[in-house]
């Protein structure tokens, strides 16, 4: 017994010394696919400890008067994954030029724990909050605290909940990406690449309004073509990669998969099952492996750039804090932001160059231009138009001079 304990403790000590003594990412074998033109150290990359870090250039704004100082609470499950890192960095990017004091609170995945953490944080006093959960409980919590709350990337589950949330004065509304359009675009991209017998691989129905919208868009996209069929569906909580492997084995005619979230293990499955060239992928969320998938031709379409939602949410909140202007006219109706649609390696490289490098989707000046601080005529209609104009071409046009 003592010998075993001693051995285990020795190994643990060795482990700890190894972890402490090793230097940075000297020989990391993790893949980071970056465009050749991306600036070193800018944009999103994976650190040696596995965390995702996002670095932007220092932001500046042109202003002839002092910007008011606001304290804003930003909530998310975890700021160490890719989207969380981009959310956080896009806010840190504007903190100094816009005179904002951000506090980032990781709420985890448990609802009760999150509510407790938020209640504790609100004691410190904040002028506004950007979160990702659209629930009546959250709206009530922030209303009670007198803190304006805008939701990023989440939406009420149904009309009843939307109305209930809108009844709270401090609920400003939700900003979401157009998931239905993304799903529809997935089907269209697969069709354009010759896929006629496709699969939907997604989250269990009813679990998330966004994922359901993607599925609905995909189904409608398939239905719009007489010679395209949805031959198999996998609705699961986690087993998306296994579902593709099973479907490919039992449906040899399968030639395309629409996936609600393209994670690393799905790209791995396509390669390990020998499906490159046989089954095309289309999905959501740019991640590790996306570049390689475009390179080997297994990816037809991917929607990304969701982090811009956070910047739009800030503009919504900032307008309200400045003079009470609501740029989401009706909080029961979500403000919809276009997706960044990528259909080729060139698109992906442009995405890395213009959306994942030195400058985020909107510069600090562009965000300020969305507010009454610069444009007193900016209103809900203009905000809606701006969100509809968001695209890869739009970002390239706006930032052509900013990105080298």
């Amino acid at each position: 017994m003592k010998k075993i304990i001693a051995l285990i403790l020795t190994l643990t000590l060795l482990l700890a010394l190894t972890a402490c003594g090793a230097s940075g990412s000297t020989a990391s074998t993790a893949e980071t696919t970056q465009a050749a033109t991306a600036a070193d150290g800018k944009g999103t990359s994976i650190a040696a400890d596995g965390s995702v870090i996002t670095n932007y250039d220092k932001a500046t704004v042109q202003t002839d008067k002092e910007l008011p100082k606001f304290r804003i609470l930003v909530l998310y499950n975890s700021f160490t994954d890719k989207l969380g890192s981009q959310y956080k960095s896009s806010m840190e990017y504007i903190a100094e030029p816009l005179n904002i004091d951000f506090t980032f609170l990781e709420t985890g995945s448990s609802g009760d724990e999150a509510m407790a953490a938020i209640e504790a944080a609100l004691v410190s006093g904040y002028d506004g909050c950007i979160g990702t959960v659209a629930s009546e409980a959250r709206a009530a919590l922030f209303d009670k605290a007198g803190v304006p709350y805008v939701v990023c990337g989440g939406m009420p589950s149904d009309e009843t909940q939307a109305k209930a949330m809108a009844s709270y004065e401090n609920y400003l509304g939700s900003v979401v990406v157009d998931d239905y359009a993304a799903g529809y675009a997935m089907a269209e991209a697969l069709y354009a690449d010759g896929c006629r017998n496709v699969m939907w691989d997604g989250l269990s129905r009813g679990y998330s309004g966004q994922h359901d919208a993607r599925a609905a868009g995909f189904a409608d996209g398939v239905a719009s073509h007489d010679d395209m069929k949805l031959i198999v569906e996998n609705w699961d909580y986690t087993q998306w990669a296994d579902g593709i492997a099973t479907a490919a084995a039992t449906y040899p005619e399968l030639d395309g998969v629409g996936c609600t979230c393209l994670m690393a293990n799905i790209y791995n499955t396509i390669e390990s099952e020998g499906l490159v060239g046989q089954v095309q992928l289309a999905g959501i969320d740019v991640s590790e492996g996306t570049g390689r998938a475009f390179e080997n031709g297994s990816l037809s379409y991917i929607a990304g750039g969701n982090y811009a939602c956070e910047q739009i949410c800030f503009a919504v909140l900032y307008n309200y804090l400045l003079d009470g202007t609501r740029v989401i006219a009706d909080p029961t109706v979500n403000l919809t932001l276009n997706n960044i649609n990528l259909s080729s390696l060139e698109d992906y490289n442009n995405y890395i160059k213009y959306l994942d490098s030195a400058v985020p989707a909107y510069t600090a000046q562009e965000i300020l231009d969305m507010t009454h601080y610069v444009d007193e005529s900016f209103n809900a209609e203009k905000m809606t138009e701006l969100c509809k104009a968001y695209s890869l071409e739009d970002v390239i046009a706006r930032h052509a001079d900013l990105v080298q």
Binding site: M1, I4, I5, I8, L11, T12, L14, L15, T18, A19, A22, T26, A27, S28, T29, A30, E31, I46, A48, D49, G50, S51, V52, S78, T80, D81, G108, S109, S110, E113, S204, R205, V232, E233, N234, W235, D236, Y237, T238, Q239, A241, D242, G243, A245, T246, A248, A249, T250, Y251, P252, M263, A264, N265, Y267, N268, S272, E273, S287, E288, R292
Partner: protein, 330 residues
């Protein structure tokens, strides 16, 4: 003659063991219009069975002596993230992942074993607490989780995954059947009081049990990391999803172990659950129905298992009653 009878008995036992997975496979093969009746589908199912089976071996060792370990999934995620993270820091690639994942898993198991012997808390309760601890532990060192490169992730692909499974299966067979440790846990599992009276050191055996189980969980962590490509930190019992397939399979495996060696029975148990899961995809039913059917399937299996001796017992009781009545009448 004796050897021939023994061999025949083993063959019959193997047939009985395979009966359930074959029956489930035939059922879903028919329901899917024959789509599952192809070699690729079978190989896919077999490949998906491997990692949960290895987790199941670790669980079975504990459950053989009445210890239910809910933290197995947390050990796997912890070992996968920390093992891969440490390997990446040192640039050791796959050998580093294998080494560190097993070391981390052994360390986690040793901690659990020490606490179990020291605190005298039921294993189920202890494992629930440690599950939360080991789910959170990697976050301190590797908050972003772990990512493995494609070239290092080949162990989860065929044919390497089958090589790993074969080696692990042989190792489990040897440990369970040919070592004093295996003999001891079977003795404890049969009757703990008698084993204690016979002089077995229960604390030492149970601690060894955690360590041996930890080795299997470390191997499972390597395969899990290789299959996923990227493993993120989990919380709030999220690791249960990692071990759930193995967890369900261990009960079926314990039933099937009546007819064949546990190394085969456990694999067949997990295989049955995987055929069930894949069958639903092939047939086109949603995972909600899969969860319902899986739960009902397990209830039926466990009911049959727990009550298998009931008809014989009732018959014996009737005979005894008839004999007693006859003696009384006389």
């Amino acid at each position: 003659m004796k050897n021939q009878n023994k061999f025949a008995g083993q063959v019959v036992g193997l047939i009985k063991t395979l009966a359930i997975p074959v029956a489930v496979y035939l059922l879903f093969g028919i329901l899917s219009g024959g789509r599952m009746f192809n070699s690729r589908a079978m190989i896919t199912v077999l490949r998906q069975t491997i990692q949960p089976s290895i987790i199941c071996y670790a669980l079975l060792l504990g459950m053989s002596i009445g210890m239910m370990n809910f933290s197995a999934g947390a050990f796997v995620t912890c070992a996968a993230i920390m093992g891969n993270g440490l390997s990446n820091l040192l640039g050791w690639g796959l050998p580093g992942l294998v080494f560190f994942a097993i070391v981390v898993s052994l360390a986690c198991s040793a901690i659990m074993g020490l606490l179990y012997n020291w605190l005298r808390v039921p294993c189920m309760v202890l494992s629930l607490g440690l599950m939360l601890f080991f789910e959170s532990l990697p976050r301190f060192f590797f908050p972003g989780g772990a990512v493995i490169s494609t070239q290092d992730a080949f162990l989860a692909r065929q044919p390497w995954c089958f090589v790993v499974m074969a080696l692990v299966m042989v190792l489990f067979y040897i440990i369970y059947n040919k070592t004093p440790y295996g003999h001891n846990i079977r003795a404890i599992g049969a009757n703990q009081s008698v084993a204690l009276a016979a002089g077995l050191n229960l604390d030492k055996i149970k601690f060894t049990n955690f360590i041996v189980g930890g080795f299997f969980l470390g191997v499972a962590a390597v395969l899990y990391m290789s299959a996923q490509g990227k493993v993120q930190n989990v919380s709030a019992l999220g690791s249960m999803a990692v071990m759930m397939d193995g967890f369900m399979g261990v009960f079926l495996g314990m039933l099937l172990a009546r007819w064949s060696d546990p190394s085969i029975a456990v694999f067949c148990g997990v295989l049955t659950m995987k055929i069930l899961a894949n069958g639903f995809v092939a047939v086109g039913l949603e995972s909600t129905w899969k969860d319902v059917v899986t739960g009902l399937f397990m209830l039926v299996i466990m009911a049959i298992s727990e009550n298998a001796t009931l008809p014989a017992k009732r018959k014996a009781d009737r005979l005894f009653a008839a004999q007693a009545n006859a003696e009384r009448a006389w």
